[in-house]
């Protein structure tokens, strides 16, 4: 009896061993003898359906024009965290993709681990800067080096609900970046837009605690999250404390919905249903706002602080991983993403914000950011010149959790803005030490 059982087990064991061996074997034979085939490039990207469809179209046109290179698009679902984890796993396992989509905040961690190829020499050799928004290339630089080619630029601007402005009898804000509204005018407008109570309550402005979203307020006063040499945090500097006190006051006064109220309805829905007058967001909100037929909205520059009206930019970029076996071919693909053909596809599908290809952006203005008026389209286009990027520290994740732990307390009015920012500053300095 015992023999029979052990026999059964050995049969099973044999079965799985054979399966293991054959599975390994077949793959080896298929990857051999690839001499005549085109160079395979793996491009990994996260994105929503419209973005990925556009990338796919760009890659198809690249493959058609370059028979010696074959690019495969791998579409990673999930959040940026899921995407980063997958990329890191592949790099650690020794099989990195050749190219990956990268955003400024995520880039520095990869660079600090030496996982991205320095593209500076290639950019200097092949890119004619006059055709592009040079500030985008400036913004992606880390210590003066370029680790990714920017494809799209997002800036934060004020979106406002025109119907609510009309009902409250308030004139629309100026669309001119050289003559924008002041912070005082902006706050006054937010207060005037606030009315009602309960489910009919209308809010003037959404005080987003996220320090990326609140940059326009402290950039305008000359503030920043780090000291100029980036060696220490500047979260408790006056411009930042002032900004967070202002945001806290807006929530306290009921001008802005509180985090608890947003649990019931996401902020984009609040805006689209006509219960939120203004919010500061990026060009990525255009697709849902445009799709909503009942919504009539406009865009305006961010309000001017004591020094300037300055907004933040986020750069969408393609990076080549340093483990890529075909860096030259990968560079060709990355470069293609900002070529005229690709830029046209990006504009036609309305993805990736403002294309970095200035020539095409200016030529195809009529296709971009509809249904905005030409003056409002310029709010987006000109905003690039009034924007700067935030410094994203490699330990972004830790800094973020420290920030939110305290920022939540500020928004719930449990601690003062001064106290909260002081705590954040101390924790940040401990983390980056």
């Amino acid at each position: 009896m015992k023999r029979k059982t052990s026999l059964a087990f050995s049969v099973l064991l044999c079965f799985f061993t054979v399966q293991l061996l054959t599975a390994g074997g077949t793959k080896d034979s298929s990857s051999g003898g690839a001499a005549a085939r085109p160079t395979e490039i793996l491009l990994m990207s996260i994105g929503y359906t419209e973005e990925l469809d556009t990338f796919s179209a760009i890659i198809d046109s690249f493959n058609a024009k370059n028979p010696d290179i074959h690019v495969t698009l791998e579409q990673v679902p999930g959040s940026w965290n899921d995407y980063n984890q997958k990329v890191i796993s592949l790099i650690t396992a020794g099989t990195p993709p050749d190219i990956g989509r990268m955003m400024g905040p995520g880039q520095s961690a990869f660079v600090s681990r030496g996982q991205l190829l320095d593209l500076t020499p290639m950019v200097q050799r092949d890119i004619k800067m006059a055709d592009y928004y040079e500030s985008a290339f400036e913004s992606v630089k880390l210590d003066g080096r370029i680790y990714g080619v920017p494809t799209g630029i997002y800036t934060l601007n004020v979106y406002y609900n025109k119907k609510m402005f009309d009902e409250a009898g308030i004139p629309y804000p100026s669309a001119d970046w050289n003559n924008p509204w002041t912070k005082e005018q902006f706050l006054e407008t937010a207060r005037k837009l606030t009315s009602g109570s309960g489910p009919a309550k209308k809010y003037g402005f959404y005080a987003n605690m996220d320090y990326g979203r609140s940059t326009p307020f402290f950039f305008g006063d000359g503030g920043d999250t780090f000291s100029p040499d980036r060696k220490s945090a500047a979260m408790d500097s006056k411009p930042l404390v002032d900004t967070y006190r202002m945001l806290q006051d807006l929530i306290k006064a009921g001008v802005s919905p509180s985090p608890a109220q947003l649990q019931a309805m996401p902020v984009d829905q609040l805006f689209m249903s006509g219960r939120l007058g203004m919010l500061i967001e990026g060009e990525w909100m255009m697709p849902p706002f445009t799709a909503n037929k009942e919504l009539s909205f406009g865009v305006a520059p961010v309000p001017k602080g004591s020094q300037s009206a300055t907004t933040i930019n986020y750069i969408d970029q393609w990076s080549v991983f340093s483990g890529s076996k075909h860096p030259d071919e990968a560079w060709k693909v990355v470069k293609y993403f900002i070529d005229n053909d690709a830029a046209e596809l990006l504009i036609k599908n309305n993805v990736l914000g403002i294309p970095v290809n200035k020539t095409v952006a200016n030529r195809m203005k009529e296709f971009m950011f509809n249904p905005l008026s030409p003056a409002e389209k310029d709010v987006f286009l000109v905003s690039i010149e009034h924007s700067k990027s935030l410094y994203w520290h490699p330990k972004l994740g830790e800094l973020g959790s420290s920030f939110w732990k305290n920022a939540d307390l500020i928004s719930l009015n449990e601690i003062t803005a001064e106290e909260g920012m002081k705590r954040i500053n101390k924790e940040w300095n401990d983390i980056i030490k």
Partner: protein, 285 residues
């Protein structure tokens, strides 16, 4: 009071008690099912009408298009088939191997049995993130990346939780069953398949359900191992309807409804075992 009157009062009290009980149960039932109903309702709404006030339970007109759109915009059908394939193979495989291993640990005496069992349990204590990359490297050497093998083989071969759960159940079956069968000349395999396995159908059903659900909802494994979209499973595909800044709730909920359908169907047909199993494993585990 006559006995008759007494009976009437008692009946009346009982009726009152039942009415109260039913009211409470119905109220609790509605509370439980409301999120599901809301999900279905949202799946039939156009993007803009999801958050209107007052909330609409019955969207008019219902946006049936959402259900067509999710299949057109993404290869949902293929993802559905992939998920079904993996979940069914894994469930059947897990039941097969885990029940045999559990039987061995519970009823057969051999050397180092307890030590081996401890090692098996220890595998449950190691967090998945720690082993993720070594296992990935291993499977890459097999040439299994971008195939369904890494999702199927480990799930079938080492479901420690399943072995543990079934072992606990086998141990409650008295040895006299197998001993009398042994006297009648039955081999271990006959004892296992003809006597022991039929006795633990409720436990197997529970494990089967857990295993099916676990495999159906699994996200990290498929995310790391699969590269081509046509091999993706449902949890991966649903994420394409979400993005960092906003979501099309109608589409997202339609996709979610489709994705939970198999689980709900499974639950309806195996509700009895499911509840039995939870009670049982709760007591024994």
């Amino acid at each position: 009071m006559t006995p008759r009157q007494n009976a009437i009062i008692r009946q009346g009290r009982a009726a009152f008690g039942y009415t109260l009980l039913y009211i409470v149960l119905i109220a609790a039932g509605i509370t439980m099912i409301f999120p599901f109903i809301w999900m279905i309702s949202t799946s039939l709404k156009q993007g803009s009408s999801v958050f209107v006030y007052p909330p609409q339970l019955l969207p008019i007109p219902p946006a049936w298009r959402n259900y067509a759109d999710i299949f057109v915009k993404q290869p949902m059908l293929i993802a559905l088939l992939n998920s079904l394939k993996i979940a069914i193979i894994n469930t059947a495989g897990t039941l097969f191997t885990a029940s045999m291993a559990a039987y061995g640990f519970a009823k057969i005496h051999f050397r180092f049995k307890n030590q081996l069992f401890m090692i098996l349990l220890a595998t449950m204590m190691i967090p998945g993130q720690v082993t993720l990359i070594p296992i990935y490297v291993w499977f890459r050497k097999f040439g299994w990346v971008d195939t369904h093998y890494p999702l199927i083989v480990p799930a079938i071969l080492c479901n420690a939780y399943g072995v543990f759960m079934l072992r606990q159940f086998f141990m409650t079956i008295p040895d006299s069953y197998s001993e009398s069968a042994k006297i009648d000349g039955a081999s271990q395999l006959v004892i296992f398949f003809r006597i022991m396995l039929p006795l633990c159908i409720p436990a197997m059903a529970t494990l089967g359900l857990f295993s099916f659900m676990g495999n159906w909802n699994s996200f990290m494994g498929p995310l790391i191992y699969l590269n081509s979209k046509l091999k993706y499973t449902i949890p991966l595909m649903i994420r394409f309807f979400q993005n960092s800044y906003y979501s099309d709730w109608g589409l997202l909920m339609a996709a979610s409804c489709v994705s939970i359908m198999p689980i709900i169907i499974l639950y309806i047909f195996s509700q009895r075992y499911f509840i039995q199993g939870v009670v049982m494993s709760g007591l024994k585990g």
